[in-house]
Each structure stands twice: as structure tokens, then as C-alpha cells.
């Protein structure tokens, strides 16, 4: 098993684990963060797969912007829901 494969396996386990957490957690915030984490692990995996462009994009958009979008909406809903 090469180092590359080993890292990939590690990333795979990590991202799948994060995905499972996103599904089973009761807290939406944790779910959103876990999903962002999945994206982040995926973007590292893209680097391994010789796709730096994709890795950048996934990191910036998939794990970054998307997560913030969720939090914005979540925030609005919380504010209005509790009133």
C-alpha cells in the first residue's frame, strides 16, 4: 500500500465518517459543519487525484461558501422562529 493509497483511505474514512455524523446528528449546525468537513476532505482527495483546480474550488465553494449560506439561513430562521 503506497502512501498515496493510505492517505486516500484515510480521507475516505474521514469523509464518510463526517457524512455519517451529518446524517445522524440531532443538531443542524453540526450537520452543516460536518457536510463542510466532507467537502474539505474531498478537496484534499482531489489534490491526490491530481486535480488542484477542483481542489481549490471545492475548498472555497463547497466547504466555504456553502457552509456560510447555511448559517445565514439558519440564523435568520432561528431569529424569526424564536420570536
Amino acid at each position: 500500500m503506497t502512501l498515496l493509497t493510505f492517505m486516500a483511505a484515510l480521507l475516505a474514512v474521514a469523509s464518510l465518517g463526517a457524512a455519517v455524523i451529518a446524517l445522524v446528528t440531532r443538531s443542524t449546525v453540526v450537520a452543516v459543519l460536518s457536510a463542510g468537513l466532507v467537502s474539505l476532505f474531498a478537496s484534499v482527495m482531489f489534490l491526490l487525484l491530481a486535480a488542484p483546480d477542483v481542489a481549490m474550488t471545492e475548498a472555497a465553494i463547497g466547504s466555504g461558501l456553502t457552509t456560510f449560506l447555511f448559517f445565514f439561513v439558519l440564523g435568520r430562521i432561528r431569529r424569526e422562529g424564536t420570536k
Binding site: D53, M56, L65, L69, G75, R78
Partner: protein, 237 residues
């Protein structure tokens, strides 16, 4: 449907779908050499477009129409998110993300960081034809500046109007560049309306840097617009 069947049916379905995927997985063998599309790009990109980054060349020229569609997706999303939220103004009062305290530190930090971030974003999309990165990544970085400002509840937010102007002008210019390709070069979105320049320099690869810059601006503006709309709507009108 009770609790168990509500979850069991999707489970069974997805197991079946998984078997479909497994068939794909099991039947998959990586290619030994590049297939004909890829080998064309590998050998012709430099000659055709003068770009170092093949992915960029594909995105901006060969599959430029996709990319035009892609920015249009964001344009649409921005417009629709605006529409969706336009008629549901948030209640008066506190705005901001609601879970991050907007303190003095954040505000000050934001003021300092925003120009740096913007510059970095511009760097990323202008070098898209040479290094990894490009309009989308750069645009996302530019948008993060906007994000920061929103988080810090900064008073000097970008006006929504300005964002929309930038977005539209960039889009329009992009389309016009495409047309110019049709008029002066080999086809729609052909990058050779500008000289290809010397391979590997920043002002090379024809119109690619220009287009990617437009894309970066546009994407940045669109992300910003979406973020602004989602964050609060008092000033979205």
C-alpha cells in the same frame, strides 16, 4: 407510513441503487493512456490557446459555452434568491448572521482584510491560465471579502446596486467577447481575438485572462449578491 417503513423503503431503494453503482464500480478500469479528447487537449491546448493550465483552457474556450451557462446559473440563482426573499423582509431589528458577535475587533479586522482579500482574489483569477485557480476560485475569494463585511455588520457594505451593476456588466462583456470570437476568430468564445502572447506569461493565452477576470468579477458579484440576499433583506430593495 410509520417510522420504520418511512426509513426502510429508501434504504432498500438505495441498496438497489447501490447495486447499480457497484456495477459501474466493478466494471471500471482506469484508462492506460489519455482518450482522444484528452490527448487532443494535451497536445493542442498550447498551440490553440497558449494557456499553461489545460483545465482553464478547456473551461474558458473549448467548453466556454458550459462556463457561460455556469455563470448564468449563478446569475439566475442570485436573481431568484433576490426574488424569493424580496417579498419576505426580515423583521426589523438586529441584522447580521445572528450567531457571531460582531465586535469591534471583527469590524476593524474586516477593514484591514478586505482589500487584501480582494487583491488575492484578483490574483487567482488573473493567473488562472497559468496556475491552478481561476475565475470561480477567485470569485469565491472575492465573495469572502463580502462575507467578512456581512459578518462584521460593517456599515459600509457594498450597495446591492453596485454588485448588480458589476455582475451585469461583466456578464454582458463576457457575451460580447464571445461574439467577438465569432466575428474575428474561429468561433464563439474563441480566445484568439487577442494575441496569444508568450507562453507562460501573465499576458498570454489570448482573451483567457480577460474572460477569466470577467468570470471572477461576475462570480464574485453573484456570490456576494446571494450572500447579501440570504443574510438580510432590509437593504436588498
Amino acid at each position: 407510513m410509520n417510522f420504520t417503513t418511512r426509513k426502510a423503503i429508501p434504504l432498500v431503494l438505495l441498496l438497489l441503487l447501490g447495486s447499480v453503482f457497484y456495477a459501474l464500480f466493478a466494471g471500471y478500469t482506469p484508462d492506460e493512456t489519455l482518450n482522444r479528447s484528452a490527448s487532443y487537449y494535451a497536445s493542442q491546448t498550447v498551440q490553440d490557446t497558449g494557456a499553461q493550465n489545460v483545465v482553464t483552457a478547456i473551461i474558458v474556450t473549448y467548453r466556454g459555452l458550459d462556463t457561460l451557462g455556469e455563470v448564468t446559473v449563478l446569475f439566475l440563482t442570485a436573481a431568484i434568491v433576490g426574488l424569493v426573499l424580496a417579498h419576505s423582509k426580515a423583521p426589523k431589528g438586529r441584522s447580521g448572521s445572528g450567531f457571531l458577535p460582531s465586535g469591534e475587533l471583527l469590524t476593524t479586522g474586516t477593514r484591514m482584510l478586505v482589500p487584501v482579500i480582494l487583491l488575492f482574489g484578483a490574483y487567482v483569477f488573473l493567473n488562472g491560465h497559468l496556475t491552478p485557480g481561476g475565475g470561480f476560485q477567485g470569485g469565491a475569494i472575492v465573495a469572502s471579502a463580502m462575507l467578512l463585511m456581512l459578518l462584521s455588520d460593517s456599515a459600509e457594505r457594498f450597495s446591492h446596486r453596485l454588485i448588480s451593476r458589476i455582475e451585469s456588466s461583466a456578464g454582458l462583456t463576457y457575451v460580447i467577447l464571445g461574439l467577438l470570437g465569432m466575428l474575428f476568430a474561429g468561433g464563439f468564445l474563441d480566445n484568439r481575438i487577442l494575441p496569444l502572447g508568450s507562453f507562460g506569461s501573465i499576458l498570454s493565452a489570448g482573451a483567457i485572462p480577460l474572460i477569466y477576470a470577467l468570470i471572477g468579477l461576475k462570480v464574485g458579484a453573484e456570490f456576494s449578491s446571494i450572500l447579501t440576499s440570504l443574510e438580510a433583506t432590509e437593504d436588498s430593495q
